[in-house]
Structures are given as structure tokens and as C-alpha cells.
Amino acid sequence: MTDYGHDLQFGVFITPTNNPAQHAVDLAVVADRAGLDLATFQDHPYQPRFLDTWTLLSYVAARTERIRLSGNVINLPLRHPALLARSAASLDLLSGGRLELALGAGGFWDAIEAMGGGRLTPGESVEALEEGIGIIRQIWHTDQPGGERAGGVHVRGRHYTVDGAKRGPAPAHDIGIWVGALKPRILRMTGRVADGWLPSLGYVEGGPAGLDALNAHIDAGADAAGRSPRAIRRLLNIQGRFQPANGGLLQGPAAQWADELTEIALNHGTSGFILASDDAATIERYAHEVAPAVREAVALARGEAAPVSPR
């Protein structure tokens, strides 16, 4: 039973199909107008039916005004961290500080290898991700504490070698680095170095209750690194369907969804709910009927003043 006390965020997970090419763009605009907090897209660079996620994020940034954007999650094995850092900072500057960076260690190794990426064991991929996060943070870190311009980035890691790469640009805001993770080792790493955690509920054994054991690994990783477990935001990809009758978790009317998400937020620590949907009506309903109700119920339970619904 945990509540890390973060403000609540609601987002969407939109399929980046390239046929029709504007599908994901149009739905991101719907989510933006509906007042959702996040529009996210999966990143599978080996999948020719999808748009390139980085290209899509950049394009969507110019078509939206308020919503924050993220890959869900970005495939690190096929995107070099130094390059990713510069791209992320650039897009954060262009979008007025609306980019977040959710990263994955990679999973489909046959496909990654087919694209010319290196095959790693699960353990190696976690190690590579941790190195990568370090490189990304260094590229972003342009000023020394004294205010002087820092020198080039030098990293001699097991997986990445960076020899004096130029720093910068510095992003417009403190970009959150979130990690898609399910196994103990990567969860501990998330607690050690990341700003957020982004798993998919469908892969969590035992459903929402199963989050507790996973959160405990993150908390342990944070403790060991001398960080507060509250430093790591807990997000969650969810799937659901609006229907008149209760047909199970997130299969029912909006009020049922709101009760269920409130329970997950208060008891299992989740503060970001990202709904997988490619349907404009569902996205709007989620924004207008579910998100405000969960915000209100959670604020009430936490003893906070009722939040003002974002317009």
C-alpha cells in the first residue's frame, strides 16, 4: 500500500502507423485539445509499418500546443545515447519544454540485430542503458557549477565510448528520464538513476496488485543510492474499453474506470495513467470523464484541496 504523492497525469499511447501517415498526428491533436497531459508513441525502429518515432514526435510537437510528448519507450540499442541526448534537447527547445524521455533497454534482439544493432544479454542491456542515461545527462549538462562552460564528454564504458563529444544543447526544462522495466535488476537501476518508471499493466503479473512487488525493487534501488523513492514517478500504460456493463478491470463505464484508477493511484503508487487508444471518442471520454474524477477522488483521499480541472 503505497502512494508516492505525485500529482496525477493522464496520457495516451497512440499507434504510430504510417498508413494513413497522419493517423497518429490527428489523434495527438485530439489528446492535446482534450486537455490530456501526455501523448506517447511506441518506438520499434525495425517495424516498417510504423512511422519513425523521433520524426513523429518532432512533427507532433509543431502541431500541438500544450501536451507533453514522449516515446513509449525509446529503443536505446538502435539510437545512440549521445545522438538521442542532442535530439531530445533540441526537441525540448523547439517545443517549449514539452518533451520527456522514456527509454527501453531493448527486447526484440533478432530484429535489433537485423538492423545492424548489437545483440546483448538482458543483463548487458541494463548495463548499457545505465551507461546511456549517464551519457545523456552529461550531454545535457553544459555548465559547471561555477558557471563555466564544461568541456567535452568523455566516457569509457563497457558498451559506449564517447571521446570528447561536444555538450549541449541544454534542454528547455529538466527532461524526465523514465525507464520501461519489469525485472528486478532493471527496476533497481531505475530506482538508482531514473526519474520515472513506465511499465505496461498488461505485462505486470497479478495485475495492479503486482505493482507493489515491482515498486519495492525500485524503492530498494533508490534507497541504496541514497535517493528518496519519491524521486521516481510511477507511470503505467493501461488498456481499457468503455462499455455499459462491468466486464472486468477498465472494461465498463467511465465511473468504474475512475474508481479503479483511483484505487491503483492510492494503493499502488501510480501517478501517470497512459491509455492505449487509437479512437478519438475514447481519448476524449478518458480526458473528460475519467481524468477529472480520478484527480478529485485522489485529492480527497489525500486530504488535499480538490484540484482545478485543467482546461
Binding site: 504510417n18 501517415a21 525502429p45 516498417p48 523521433w54 509543431a62 539510437r79 535530439s87 538492423m115 545492424g116
Partner: protein
């Protein structure tokens, strides 16, 4: 003309070292002022790719040219990213590639990256791409997506190795070396390319000199160095404006004086594309107004195959008007010896509509749907429209035209052969709703045929249309169909013969408002054979619908059922919107049946049991289709109650299994049969019908120009072809 490469001048804005603040506004200004492109180098603070993608969303016309430093990019990922940006921007990408000044990668790495990027663009999704370079490898990557247009690759680099690479592989060169052209040109020639394939790009600093003087400074670069693109590096809106409104017009005028025709020159066709042309097709005589796609063109990948069939035509002509269909037919007449396919939606089984080294006339652009008369429900439809589009267009009127079982099928093919669809028993064949047709005949004349105009031709088109001309418009009388009952059931067909017989008997006992299709085949070893049952009831009354379907529920154990009340448009499976990607050659047989007799059912069960057919379908027909006099249309098998089709992986095995079914058939439906030859034509048309068709063929197409789909032999000896002699300027 010395040292000019024949590219009309283009002008761009370079964002090199441009700060993010005001960038979008400057690019919008450039687009408004008429700049052709915006160049986004990686050299600044910001990542060029993110900037270019972001700018794409805020612009509508200007070409985007990110100049990417290869660095740590994975070229396969970059290839997909480039295709994505081209798709998102509606075909506005030109990809610039260069090397980091401080990186240790070299021109060889960039050359490999270009190979990988182009491999991704050209590869099929199902392909397993392999590339074994020194710097980059692919181990079975999927190909695609295909960009929206042929994306040019521009290389920036001033050392000899980069110039060599440009000459060998690039479409453009951004360099500053005075003698670079000689190296680039030599490398191009050595690689078998025409140096004119490579556009020369120059980036210039802004200048304070007066506009005419500035234009005079630039002129020698155009006429002496062959520069085609000039990129202005400036962040000052006043300079951006002055350059395009004052300097550019002066420069264009001077360049046109020095190099007459430069501003209207067409880009040279690459040597690699010319090499893919087919002998026997006179490409230079294609009328300039006629859209043409040949094997070296970007769009060829989307047109060479049909839905079910692979092909490699030498030329696909895409007329946009009936007039242009006449031009296309004239071109085909001058090439009587090469195969000719006529394509609407490309779903034909008997009509090939693709070929090897021949010509295809693709009428998909003639796709207008127009309601002519709401009282009479009269609708004019182009042959290139798809039936799903027709159904959607008629939905607001509560009308429908019976049209097969899939929304992706083109109007032209179905409306000239028959059209056995889900409203068939209720409303007849598709051709039974045809009231008039406009055609281009083999001699190029344009005629209208109806009950009162050219009635012989109107008779022939309704069943044997592909042999008589290319339809350019149809006029149909739609039926009032406010809603339909739509059922999809899955039955256990382990007792295959019993199931078929019961289904056939039940169907014949069901009122004609109900039409059902069943599809069997492809059972996995150890699993029961399933029958997919579809039925449409021409009624939106749930009680009527249920009463029609109830008798079918008992014919065999049922696994799944779905019954809905829908519009016809929603029931007809919509098209997927993808280009046809067939490969190989389908093998399909067709037969028309009066009743599903026990003998037939046993023979069909034998065919399915043998595994020779992976797709076996029986469609009910009859009803309203049987009300028509057999002599009223060239489709004459009016007494048939069922149309049977089977597809198999092996033609030989399929034919062997099919032979046992043959005795039951009375004729065939030509649209579902891939076999060719006089006996097939004789099975498609009864003797009296065929005799009349042959007489008309002698009248309308004596040289047999149209022979792609159940070719009918003219009754008299063919006259000599009198091909038109007009030619047009070379393309």
C-alpha cells in the same frame, strides 16, 4: 551550355547556425515568398532531423532538406526516419548527408549508409534485407516504408573521396570546390551515370551589395559551374525578402538569356532508370499529357502487381480523362505486338491487368461518383472507383448497387463481367443495374451504349466487356436499400458433403431477399474443416432477418455467430487502402451450378479433403438474376443458382480435383477462372451468345487489341491494323 547540367534554378534558405528563436517564422516567410527549399544543417546547436520534422508540420509547400551528419546514426533507422518524414510531409524531403568534421568515419562509410538507406526505401516489408559492408550490416531487416516520392540524396563534402562518392551514388552535391565538378562528373561517367543526374548545390553568405550586382556575381556560378540550387544563409528577414524578390528574378532573367530553355528543362532520366526500359515500347512517343509509370520510376513499385498476381509491365499508363484513354489506346494500337492489360481496381482473376514487358492502361484515376437523378436513383460512376467508395457514396441516400463481396474491387472489372454479390438474389447482378456505358473502342472512337444507343455493344459489354473496349463511365440505377441484415457464422464442416448439401437446399428454400456465400478450405492438420458463412438479408427488420437465418442455424454445429443490422456500405468489407502487392500466379477455377446435388457435394468434399484447394467458395445467385432473359446480356447463364470457385497452390492438382466437379456445371463465370483457351471461352458463353459476340468482335475490334480477359476471336478474318501515326515530342 558548357558545364551546365540542365536543372532549372531553385532557391533555398539555409538555417546554418540559425538560433531556434524565430526560426519557424523565418521559414514560413521563406515559404510565403516563394523559396523552393529550406536546408537544415546539423552544424548548429540543434539536431537537424528534429528541426526538419518540426518545420514539416508548420509548412505546406517548401522542400525540407535536413543535412545530417552521419556520426552515430544507424543508417537503417535513418532510412525509415527519412521515409517517415517524406510520408508526413507529403513528399517534400530531400535528404542531405555529410560527415562530422571531427569523426573518423569516411566517405566509404557514407557510401555504405546510402546503400542501406536506399535498400530500406526500396525493400518490401516481407523482405529480409542483407548488407555486408565494412561499416554497416543488415541481417534480414524488413524493408520499408516506401517514401511518398523518390527522395533525392544530396551529399555535402569538398574532398576528393566525397566528390567520388557523389558521382557514383548521389543525386546532388553540396560543395564549394571550384574544380569539383570535373571529379564528380568523371566519377559519374565511370559509374555509368549521366553527370546531369547530379544537381549542383551551393550555399552562399548574405551580401550587402545591391541586388543587380549580387545577381551578376551569382550568374557565373550558374552558367560556368552549373549550380542549380542556391542556398542563402541568412537569419535577417529583410535580406531573405530582398534576395528572393530582387536578386532571384534578375538572376533568373540573366540565366535564361545565357541558357535558353533552362527554366523549363525537365530533369534527365537517370541512366539506371533508362536501363530498365523494355525493348519494343517506344517510350519517346508517349503523349506528354498522359501520366506514365515505367520500371525505373518511384511509383512503379505500387503498380506493377495486382491484388493476386505479380507482374513486370514495361509501362503503366494512367489516363485521367476519357480523352486521355483515347490517347492511351492509340499508343497501345501502335504496340499491338506487346501484351496489353486493362486495369481498374486490379482485383481481376481472369483479367490479368498486369503482364511481363507489356503495357497496362490503368483507369484508377477515373474514379468520380456522381448522383445524376435522385428520382430514378441514377448514378454515374467512373471505372476506377472502388465498390467500397460507391457504397459509401450511396449510403446517405439509402441506396446500394449489388457489387461482389469486397470494397477494394474496382468498378470497371465487375461492371463489365457480371458481378455476383451479396444483394444478387434480391437485386440481380451488377450488370443488371447498368443503364448506359461510355467506352473507348479499339479504333479510339468514343461511344455511348445503352438500350437505345448502340444496343449491340450494350449487350456485349454486360458480360464480355473486356473484349470490346475500355469503359470510361457507367450509369447505374441503384436500388433502395435502407439497411441490411448481415450475418457471419462459422460452422463445423467436418461432414463436408452433408454441410454443402444442406446449405444449398436451405438456401434454395429461403426467399430471394437473402443471399449467402460460404467459404471453406485451408484446414490445419488435426483441426476440423470450418465453413465461413456470410449472408445478407435485404431488410432492416430484425424479425425478418432472424426468420431468414434461423433455418441455417441447424445445418451443422456452429462455432461463432454475429448478426447485425447495418448499412450496405458497412457490411461490404471496406478496402484496406494499400497498394496491390500480389506475387506469383493464382490458379482458380469457376463453375456455375443449378443445385447442390449429393453428387456435387461429395465431389466437392473430395476436392477439399485432398488439400488441392485452400480456398473454396460457393456464392448463391439466381433470384432476381434469373428473372433476366438469357439473351438480354452477354452473361447468359441466368438459370444458375450457385457460382463455385476454387483456388489452389498447384494448377495441376487443382485441375485434377476439379475434374470430378465438372459434370455438375453448366458454364462458368469468367471472373473467377484463370484458365485460358477456346474451351474456357466456350464454357463462359453458350454457343448462341458466343456467335453473336464473335460477330460483334469482328465489327468493333477486328485486330483483337483487347485480349487480356477471355479473348473472343472475331468472326471474320482480321483486317490490317491501321495504327495512328501521330507522335509527340520526346519526353
Amino acid at each position: 551550355m558548357d558545364n551546365n547540367y540542365g536543372h532549372p534554378l531553385r532557391f533555398g534558405l539555409s538555417l546554418r547556425s540559425s538560433a531556434p528563436a524565430g526560426m519557424a517564422e523565418r521559414v514560413a516567410l521563406a515559404e510565403d515568398l516563394g523559396y523552393d527549399l529550406v536546408s537544415v544543417p546539423d552544424a548548429g546547436e540543434l539536431d537537424a532531423w528534429s528541426v526538419a520534422s518540426w518545420l514539416a508540420a508548420g509548412t505546406g509547400r517548401i522542400i525540407l532538406s535536413p543535412l545530417v551528419s552521419l556520426g552515430e546514426h544507424n543508417p537503417a533507422v535513418l532510412g525509415r526516419a527519412a521515409a517517415s518524414l517524406d510520408l508526413l510531409s507529403g513528399g517534400r524531403l530531400e535528404l542531405g548527408l555529410t560527415l562530422d568534421s571531427d569523426s573518423d568515419s569516411d566517405a566509404a562509410a557514407l557510401g555504405e549508409a546510402i546503400d542501406v538507406i536506399r535498400g530500406i526505401w526500396e525493400g518490401e516489408a516481407r523482405a529480409a534485407l542483407r548488407y555486408d559492408g565494412e561499416h554497416y550490416q543488415l541481417h534480414g531487416a524488413a524493408g520499408g516504408p516506401r517514401p511518398a516520392h523518390r527522395v533525392p540524396i544530396v551529399v555535402q563534402g569538398a574532398d576528393a573521396s566525397m566528390m567520388h562518392l557523389t558521382g557514383q551514388r548521389a543525386d546532388g552535391w553540396l560543395g564549394a570546390e571550384p574544380d569539383g565538378n570535373a571529379i564528380v562528373d568523371a566519377a559519374a561517367r565511370a559509374a555509368g551515370r549521366d553527370p546531369r543526374e547530379i544537381r549542383r548545390v551551393l550555399e552562399i553568405e548574405q551580401s550587402d551589395v545591391p541586388s543587380t550586382a549580387w545577381a551578376a556575381q551569382l550568374l557565373p556560378l550558374v552558367i560556368g559551374k552549373g549550380v542549380g540550387d542556391i542556398l542563402l544563409r541568412s537569419a535577417d528577414p529583410a535580406v531573405i525578402r530582398r534576395f528572393i524578390t530582387e536578386v532571384v528574378p534578375a538572376l533568373r532573367q540573366a540565366a535564361d538569356l545565357a541558357l535558353p530553355g533552362l527554366s523549363t528543362a525537365a530533369p534527365v532520366r537517370p541512366a539506371a532508370a533508362l536501363a530498365r526500359r523494355v525493348a519494343g515500347i517506344d517510350y519517346d512517343s508517349i503523349p506528354l499529357t498522359l501520366a506514365a509509370i515505367e520500371p525505373g520510376d518511384h511509383d512503379y513499385a505500387t503498380v506493377h502487381s495486382t491484388y493476386m498476381r505479380g507482374g513486370s509491365p514495361g509501362l503503366v499508363l494512367r489516363p485521367h480523362t476519357a480523352e486521355q484513354v483515347t490517347d492511351a489506346v492509340a499508343f497501345a494500337r501502335r504496340h499491338h505486338e506487346v501484351p496489353l492489360g486493362i486495369r481498374s481496381g486490379g482485383h481481376g482473376i481472369s483479367g490479368r491487368s498486369t503482364n511481363r514487358d507489356g503495357i497496362v492502361i490503368d483507369v484508377s484515376a477515373l474514379d468520380e461518383i456522381e448522383v445524376l437523378d435522385t428520382e430514378r436513383r441514377l448514378v454515374r460512376i467512373g471505372p476506377g472507383a472502388r465498390w467500397g467508395e460507391v457504397a459509401a457514396a450511396l449510403e446517405p441516400y439509402d441506396w446500394a448497387i449489388s457489387s461482389g463481396d469486397y470494397g477494394g474491387v474496382g468498378v470497371g472489372g465487375l461492371a463489365t463481367a457480371g458481378g455476383i454479390g451479396f444483394l444478387g438474389r434480391a437485386h440481380g447482378l451488377t450488370i443488371d443495374h447498368l443503364r448506359a456505358v461510355e467506352l473507348v473502342l479499339a479504333d479510339g472512337s468514343r461511344v455511348r451504349a445503352s438500350a437505345s444507343e448502340n444496343p449491340d455493344l450494350f449487350w456485349a459489354v454486360r458480360g464480355a466487356g473486356p473484349s470490346f473496349g475500355i469503359a470510361t463511365a457507367f450509369e447505374f440505377e441503384a436500388a433502395a436499400v435502407p439497411g441490411v441484415g448481415w450475418a457471419e457464422l462459422v460452422f463445423d464442416a467436418s461432414d463436408t458433403a452433408g454441410f454443402l448439401e444442406k446449405w444449398g437446399a436451405t438456401l434454395e428454400a429461403t426467399p430471394r431477399d437473402t443471399t449467402s456465400f460460404i467459404t471453406l478450405g485451408g484446414a490445419r492438420p488435426g483441426e476440423p474443416l470450418l465453413a465461413r458463412f456470410s449472408a445478407m438479408v435485404d431488410s432492416d427488420d430484425p424479425e425478418t432477418i432472424i426468420s431468414r437465418l434461423q433455418p441455417f442455424a441447424d445445418i451443422a454445429p456452429m462455432y461463432q455467430q454475429s448478426v447485425q443490422v447495418l448499412s450496405y456500405a458497412r457490411a461490404l468489407m471496406p478496402a484496406q487502402g494499400e497498394a496491390n502487392g500480389g506475387s506469383g500466379e493464382p490458379h482458380s477455377r469457376s463453375g456455375l451450378l443449378e443445385h447442390v446435388t449429393p453428387e456435387f457435394a461429395r465431389a466437392a468434399a473430395g476436392l477439399l479433403g485432398s488439400g488441392a484447394s485452400y480456398f473454396f467458395q460457393i456464392r448463391s445467385t439466381g433470384g432476381a438474376a434469373s428473372d433476366i432473359d438469357p439473351d438480354a446480356t452477354a452473361y447468359a447463364h441466368r438459370s444458375a443458382q450457385f457460382s463455385v470457385a476454387a483456388m489452389g497452390a498447384s494448377a495441376e492438382r487443382l485441375d485434377r480435383g476439379w475434374a470430378a466437379l465438372e459434370p455438375a456445371f453448366a458454364g462458368l463465370y469468367l471472373s473467377f477462372d484463370t484458365a485460358t483457351g477456346p474451351d474456357r471461352v466456350a464454357a463462359a458463353f453458350p454457343p448462341r451468345t458466343l456467335e453473336r459476340l464473335r460477330a460483334l468482335k469482328a465489327q468493333y475490334d477486328p485486330t483483337t487489341l483487347f485480349r487480356d480477359n477471355f479473348a473472343i476471336r472475331p468472326a471474320t478474318a482480321p483486317a490490317t491494323a491501321s495504327g495512328s501515326t501521330e507522335t509527340r515530342a520526346a519526353r
